[in-house]
């Protein structure tokens, strides 16, 4: 579905990503984790084409992204940043309508089909009751859902989320991640996201890629990746890994910093 092959990114003369490779399978949720400054957000930005990479190839469904027009990419892939701000008077419905923009030529207006997709996206994110309210008047979680609805209206094959829960309280974090899981399970949406919280990454991902100092430290299922050794090496923290009887995904309890 999506492969990243040996990409390297320089940021102010400093190399932040070095020969980084991984791939995302169709229909999976893959999370990227790593400490601050490890390059995980840069990785997502490079993939989405926002930050240039000077080496390597990113392929979307077997086609090199650099050979695609930005509009073509926007029809297949959508990236959401950690914090988005809509103009103060923009309603949810208006915002979601912008998701149809990449599918339109410059002179085309939104037709009935577009409006149906917009309504569908609003329904999917449980915002029907809020559609005529301004995005600015919504709570953090609701507004993040509105942005996800806009992404959905783009009808992408793959959704890129850059720390979608960072600015939310725990209840809203849960709400957003549940929505992501639902979209994945019901629609088969492929999701690639950067997460901070190890437990969230563990609970909501099929596979995890660990980034450390611009390089891939580990990749695999949550069970393979979430080990005391990985957490000690990458985050310099002692931890306990717990498996509950009914769950296949590990829970991580951080204990103390390693000296």
């Amino acid at each position: 579905m999506f492969t990243v092959d040996e990409i390297s990114v320089r940021y102010d003369q400093k190399i932040t990503l070095q020969n980084f490779s991984f791939s995302v399978e169709k229909g999976e949720i893959l999370s990227i984790i790593g400490p601050n400054g490890s390059g995980k957000s840069t990785l997502l930005k490079a993939i989405s084409g926002f930050t240039p990479y000077y080496e390597g190839v990113v392929q979307l469904e077997g086609i090199n992204i650099k050979s695609m027009k930005s509009k073509q990419i926007a029809q297949k892939m959508c990236m959401l940043s950690q914090k988005n701000q809509a103009p103060p008077d923009m309603t949810v419905k208006d915002l979601v309508s912008y998701g149809r923009y990449p599918h339109k030529k410059w002179f085309e207006r939104l037709d009935e089909e577009d409006m149906e997709i917009v309504e569908w996206a609003i329904r999917k994110t449980y915002l029907t009751a809020y559609q005529d309210r301004t995005v600015a008047s919504l709570s953090g979680g609701e507004s993040q859902r509105a942005w996800i609805a806009m992404a959905l209206a783009q009808r992408p094959k793959i959704l890129l989320l850059d720390e979608p829960t960072t600015y939310l309280d725990i209840a809203h974090q849960h709400e957003v991640l549940e929505l992501v899981r639902e979209l994945n399970q019901e629609m088969g949406m492929t999701v690639l996201m950067v997460l901070h919280d190890l437990n969230q990454a563990s609970q909501y991902s099929d596979r995890i890629v660990v980034v450390q100092s611009g390089e891939k430290a580990m990749a695999g299922t949550p069970k393979e990746v979430m080990t005391q050794e990985m957490i000690r090496n990458v985050y310099r923290m002692d931890s306990e890994i717990q498996y509950r009887p009914t769950e296949i995904k590990p829970r991580i309890h951080l204990l103390k910093k390693v000296n």
Partner: protein, 328 residues
């Protein structure tokens, strides 16, 4: 529902502007009643005196004020979209003074090339915009504060250059004083015919800019995500904004704050969707500068206050109010 309301507001403003324009034509040392103005314009009156006053003096000036006001306001609205900054306007970002320096060079040092003034203004504006962008550009985008600070720097540079030019060519200075203060006094059909073709080109381009402005106002990341080439849009829309501001400078000189105040008022009335904001800015810009110029020439008659000075007197406090309200 709101869409209908917004369209109505825009149309009402256009109509109001036209009504005020007709009233403004009647005002002056010789007052002309409104029925007579309409008769003269429609050609059903044959008073030579009114013909001369209206067609050679007042109408060109009124139209010029409207066109220039509309241009500067559109320019400000576009800059606010591309810079993601409610305080951006051609004056504060230094575009106006950049253009003015180049115009002044020609006016004072090479008056024989007067027909190059519009081009010089455009070049000066582009240079100023390029300096502001390069100073204010950060990886995370352009912050409102750095834009204004860069504008301060460019304005200071331009001010220095203009001061130097004024000293070097002090003998020729009186001829440009009116222009330097943004005055429409003694502007007639020549100026009108000079600016009109450029303005029409700019307005048509602005219609095409609406959609792009709407996308880019959501921020770089979102615009890129929606399949737009952000840098290309930013350059094109900035060039358009500079173009509109530059032809205004070339015609009547430096007029500040219209590009800041008008889009802000328009936003209060019709919201931030450029489909309404841009035409609303156009109508309100025309109205504001028309009122400023008409007020300037009638309030203290026979003394004339240049529209630029009147705008500065109204605009300065308004800018401070905006800054305070937005918590900068």
């Amino acid at each position: 529902m709101t869409k209908k309301v917004n369209s109505g507001t825009v149309i009402t403003t256009f109509i109001l502007t036209i009504v005020i324009a007709i009233i403004a034509i009647g005002l002056g040392s010789i007052r002309i009643p409104i029925p007579e103005i309409i008769q003269t314009i429609t050609g059903t009156s044959v008073s030579d005196e009114y013909n001369t006053i209206i067609f050679d003096i007042r109408m060109p000036r009124v139209l010029l004020a409207m066109i220039i006001g509309a241009n500067i306001a559109i320019s400000g609205a576009l800059l606010q979209a591309v810079m993601g900054n409610p305080l951006a306007d051609p004056g504060l970002t230094g575009v106006t003074s950049g253009a003015a320096v180049c115009v002044l060079i020609i006016m004072l040092a090479a008056p024989q090339y007067a027909n190059l003034i519009p081009i010089a203004a455009f070049v000066g504006g582009v240079i100023a915009a390029a300096i502001v962008y390069s100073l204010a550009w950060r990886r995370e985008g352009i912050s409102p504060v750095t834009i204004i600070l860069s504008g301060v720097a460019v304005n200071a540079l331009a001010g220095g250059a203009m001061g130097y030019l004024s000293i070097m060519y002090s003998d020729r200075l009186p001829s440009v004083v009116q222009w330097m203060n943004g005055s429409l006094a003694a502007k007639g059909n020549n100026s009108l015919y000079m600016v009109l073709p450029y303005a029409i080109v700019g307005w048509i381009a602005s219609i095409f800019a609406i959609r792009k402005a709407n996308v880019i106002r959501m921020g770089d990341q979102v615009a890129a995500n929606l399949g737009e080439n952000v840098n290309r849009i930013r350059i094109l829309l900035s060039l358009l904004a500079v173009f509109l501001a530059a032809i205004s400078v070339a015609t009547i000189g430096m007029i500040g704050f219209v590009g800041l105040i008008v889009p802000h008022m328009a936003r209060l009335l019709v919201g931030s969707n450029y489909k309404y904001l841009l035409p609303m800015s156009m109508a309100l810009g025309a109205l504001v500068l028309l009122v400023a110029d008409t007020g300037g020439r009638t309030l203290f008659a026979p003394m004339e206050i240049p529209a630029g000075i009147l705008m500065a007197v109204i605009g300065g406090p308004y800018f401070l109010y905006l800054m305070r309200r937005r918590g900068f």
